[in-house]
Subunit: 262 residues, 2 copies
């Protein structure tokens, strides 16, 4: 059996792990994932062979998962969140595409990849965990933009931020900062400030649904990269998003306009 | 106990229902949902009081859920997909906002809504189910646009489609057609054709993960509203999305560009 599950495990708390993802991992002999993700899964990973590669070795991890599955194993390639959103799934298909085109894949066994039965299992992404924690920030049209310019030219990213501003989408920024990237988020904020009020609500969600979860609701003008790290999701409201306070509870939501009908 | 769970149950197959959602429903005495969603949940709903209102009565359903919870019950308000994405969650907060502002809510008991403990439970949305079924269509920046102009002026929707085209986002269209709305999707297609090639891949996913699931991969120029109904998600690739064929398997993915590093 040559089987590769590509599995998203949700934001962190196992209460958001779909049964399909749980069963895919349980059916696998080998798990390929960044160590932190496996730590979050705990017991579920017991008795499996773990294959870890350092952060930054994403393409190597996808190649290893394909090679292991091609050798006849049942393998789960795992990311937190939705593995189809800014995560490992697309790398597997990039590699498969190279092999189908007869290009160099970096593996001597890549001809066998074409026999692997691949199944992608989606998970709940950080933007969804964040939006639900504060109410319904994704209640109307939204977009996601990765601020990592390691693989995408900054010019392309900047164009997308302008488009998001023009279209008045709720914007979720993935990969907002890293140790080496500290200026992109503030530039993105300044671009959005050209299109929407300084006072619109912004969600800064760190380690969402995990034990050290921290959620801050602020405004666009106060968004600052110094308050954000690699474990943080930033979602910026549209011009219609609202921040409401009910006693000790705060909510942020983006209306669809139903209440106008009342 | 005045408790309102606002629960997304995922695309349909219970294998994608998060334990958190399952437990929220189990803990409730009363369920408020469109009947079809409860049918999908089957056994899980047994022994609960069901409250149904016809499609189109969304605001009434949210009001009913708040009223029931305010009367001391534990209630689940349920949608399929992610209830925070084009679904019921935002209506609850629209109503709460009206009450906080002292405006008319349509309920004589709405002052008690402010005491309800509200918890939103996200689910896997149709775009994620669709993308995972065909590979990794959401692998890079994407947006979602609802084509329903019942509450949002068509001018606003059209502006967003142009922005999505300019930004070269993967675009998922929710509410692409209905019995009364048949021209919006083809207009949206024609707008996107101004910005990206006619040959880019498009996913038409009907009843995703359900027993009568039907998935078609086509190209942007061949997208036609006559092939789409209310149970369908349409996701249009960016100019970088690729459609690859490996024997009897077809995949669509949007690269992040890792393979360029090889």
């Amino acid at each position: 059996m040559s089987k590769l599950f590509i599995v998203g495990t949700g934001p962190g708390d196992l209460e958001y792990l779909a049964p399909k993802a749980q069963k895919s991992i349980a059916a696998s002999s080998d798990l390929v994932a960044y160590g932190l993700y496996l730590d979050l899964l705990g017991e579920l990973c017991k008795g499996k062979v773990h294959h870890d590669l350092p952060l930054g070795e994403e393409i190597g991890r996808a190649r290893l998962a394909l090679d292991l599955a091609a050798s006849g194993k049942t393998v789960s390639l795992i990311s937190s969140g939705d593995i189809g959103i800014y995560a490992m799934a697309t790398l597997v298909f990039e590699l498969l595409d190279l092999e189908l085109q007869g290009k160099e894949t970096g593996s001597v066994n890549s001809n066998k990849w074409l026999d692997v039965d691949i199944e992608v299992v989606p998970g709940i992404s950080a933007m969804q965990a964040g939006a639900s924690r504060v109410g319904a920030l994704l209640g109307h049209d939204f977009c996601t933009i990765s601020l990592s310019d390691l693989l995408t030219p900054w010019q392309t990213i900047e164009k997308r931020i302008h488009s998001a501003g023009q279209g008045d989408f709720v914007v979720s920024f993935y990969n907002p900062v890293s140790k080496k990237r500290d200026w992109q988020l503030n530039t993105a904020r300044d671009i959005l400030l050209e299109y929407r009020p300084a006072s619109i609500p912004v969600l800064i969600g760190r380690q969402l649904t995990r034990v050290d979860e921290n959620i801050v609701i602020t405004t666009l003008d106060k968004l600052d990269a110094k308050d954000v790290d690699m474990f943080t999701l930033v979602s910026v409201g549209s011009s219609e998003s609202r921040h409401i306070i009910n006693g000790s509870k705060e909510w942020v939501y983006t209306p669809r306009g139903y209440s106008k009908k009342l």
